[in-house]
Assembly symmetry: C2
Homo-oligomer: 408 residues x 2
């Protein structure tokens, strides 16, 4: 499927040049889980000493691999570790067979990579409810273990794609006490993307030295304002997983360092934005900022109500500065609002204030902003200091086309 | 706009033959509020003695006419009353001008119809945020008052349409103690339809004798399982209004009568279903029933999560029995569920049970059900006795086409 779709018009020009992270190597294989003619399994092999933090979907019907990862997270960090991911089949809602498939894959990975089973984390992404033919994966594990390379991260990003139209990567190098610390990440995801995390598969690697507990704190906090603040279609996947591994190989301790925290936030935000930019059928990238709400939580409720409104999203697709639909979305959100204190901007154009259209409003100006590819909608509730920003895309014929016949 | 769209494939064959309700008469006019070449204002004139109950949108940004109706409801029921509705402009988010427009219209209606201003209820539906040219309406009020007729209910239903592709009416006659009591209603609505009521404009008339308090209790209770249980696009209008007027002219007291209550429920459900059948771009009418939840409220949360999921709705459009997306929607709803106790049916075909695909599942059978126009999806949560049913439609290219250029 994925390879047949045209690349999103919002895609970056190319996969970024990412720094190498000492202590992690990648390999991929075409195992034929479901797709043919492309890679569909990736292995990330971590040297002993790596610590791993993670965040997972909160779905009540989460998949067998997610349940398995959640049990293992926070365990011993001495030995080596492996992350094994397949695309094409999510191994979700597969009952007892799902658990058995996870066990077979983790056992084979542990054996091939010479790491403990408790240090093997797996993810599966693709169709829900079909048995995962795990023997197609386990048959390739020796090969995967034998071919790992520090240079294969772009190939890894490609192997985990499903309806994605481009491979997603981001990275940075931050100087801490004069020493370089590197962070790189890959992600997949383009539909079934909504907050209440983790809404996709994301793997981030750094050579920083940090404890599992401290890394988890950073990851959880940044997750709220990155991956938990994007939405494509308000649907939440049963499978989604964010894992962050710190190999420690830079020798630089980043505990409590704000430059590292900012850099990690930057990589997470970059990947989150790339997921929105590959939103199914997306032609516009939209930043929605709400200020002046009673609390930050209220601001977030308002912002997500705007971001998830089909009427707002189709208006954006039609390049129509239809601020009436923004008023509607604020009104229905459930968070406090007062019609007569609202003000709304499209880009830098104030379209509405004090409960009515702005006296100086020039629709031509707002319409010009809507013709761009990167849009900003700002709403001030006029009641307090609460603020939030979320990101989304428009709702187009492309979304319908992709999802009305994905499985058939 | 409305008149240019093809009629929904789910529309009834024709407007129903409705019984006359003594004590209410209708008239319509083409006032040119926004549309040309069609009627856009309707008057329903009620004889003295009518009692009126209502339910309104809970939007925090509700329109000036809604606020005005809410203030008036429950007032004295002695004198005559009038309901005055325009299409083309919703008079929502129009600030102080909105309140003034309502006042001008109610004053002119009261004067032309010789009823008190406190007994004039107005609604406006159409574009948000543009000033309502109320003088175009008030200019026609004498004509409207002079031309009322007991036979004009279908014309009234046509005058309140916006993106509707067919006029919506329903009615019944119920025998109480050997005496006929009649109920008729009209509705408009096809987009911006979601629970948290009232989601559209609905006017129902009966010649029953009943107090305002008792009528309001019935209307509020039935509203929860009719208009509050339908969703087209999860968006909630700023304007929506349900008014039920009892003229008392049958002379039959229906207080506490279950046959009357059932008949009223039937008319409300019929109109609610017609709104879904005119859902923007709809090609399938879908009933979603959830049983076995811990509470009725949980069942409703699950059912609405399925009904509002863009991935479920696009799968239905594609006639794909993609029950994995139903699992996803249950999982994300926030209400308790246990993956391994779920069972799911499409029509009469059990597709999944005990956490996995049903042993006897035949996809061809489920696919055959999906080709129909009226679909049923049933989910049993397997945890308790809570149940709920909601109704929705599919999400198609038609929805995108209608909403990406509605205003331009």
């Amino acid at each position: 499927m994925a390879t047949e779709m045209p690349v999103s018009p919002l895609a970056p020009a190319s996969f970024p040049d990412l720094p190498r992270i000492e202590g992690v190597r990648f390999s991929t294989v075409a195992a034929g889980v479901k797709y043919t003619g492309r890679t569909d399994v990736m292995l990330a092999l971590l040297d002993p000493g790596a610590v791993i933090a993670g965040v997972f979907t909160r779905s009540a019907t989460r998949s067998a691999p997610v349940l398995d990862c959640q049990e293992k997270l926070g365990g011993a960090s001495g030995p080596g570790a492996a992350i094994l991911v397949n695309s094409g089949n999510s191994n979700a809602f597969t009952g007892r067979n799902g658990t058995e498939a996870v066990r077979a894959i983790t056992r084979a990975t542990a054996s091939a990579c010479n790491v403990p089973e408790e240090r093997v984390f797996t993810s599966s992404t693709g169709v829900i409810g079909e048995p995962l033919p795990f023997d197609r994966i386990t048959a390739h594990l020796e090969t995967l273990a034998d071919t790992v390379s520090a240079d294969s991260i772009e190939a890894a990003a490609r192997a985990i794609m499903t309806t994605d139209t481009f491979a997603k990567g981001a990275g940075t190098t931050v100087n801490i006490d004069g020493q370089p610390v590197r962070i790189v990440g890959i992600a997949k995801g383009s539909g079934m993307i909504a907050p209440d995390m983790a809404t996709m598969l994301v793997y981030i690697f750094t050579d920083a030295v940090i404890s599992q507990v401290d890394l988890q704190k950073l990851v959880s906090a940044h997750n709220e304002v990155t991956f938990n603040s994007i939405t494509v279609d308000s649907d939440t996947s049963t499978s989604d997983t964010l894992l962050v591994a710190a190999t420690g190989k830079s020798g630089t301790d980043v505990t409590g360092n704000s430059a590292f925290s900012d850099a990690l936030h930057g990589v997470m935000l970059d990947l989150a934005h790339q997921v929105v930019r590959d939103g199914e059928g997306a032609t516009k990238f939209v930043e929605i900022t709400v200020t002046g709400a009673e609390t930050d939580t209220d601001a977030r409720i308002h912002a997500l109500s705007v971001a998830n409104s089909p009427l707002v999203k189709t208006a954006i697709a039609g390049e129509d500065p239809n601020w009436g639909r923004v008023v509607m979305a604020i009104g229905k959100s459930g968070a406090p609002a007062d019609r007569d204190r609202l003000s709304i901007r499209f880009g830098d154009v104030t379209v509405a204030e004090s409960g009515w259209v702005s006296p100086g409003y020039d629709e031509a100006e707002a319409a010009a902003h809507m013709k761009g590819q990167d849009l900003r909608i700002s709403v001030d509730i006029g009641m307090g200091q609460g603020a939030a920003t979320v990101w989304t895309c428009d709702l187009t014929h492309g979304y319908i086309a992709i999802n009305a016949d994905y499985r058939s």
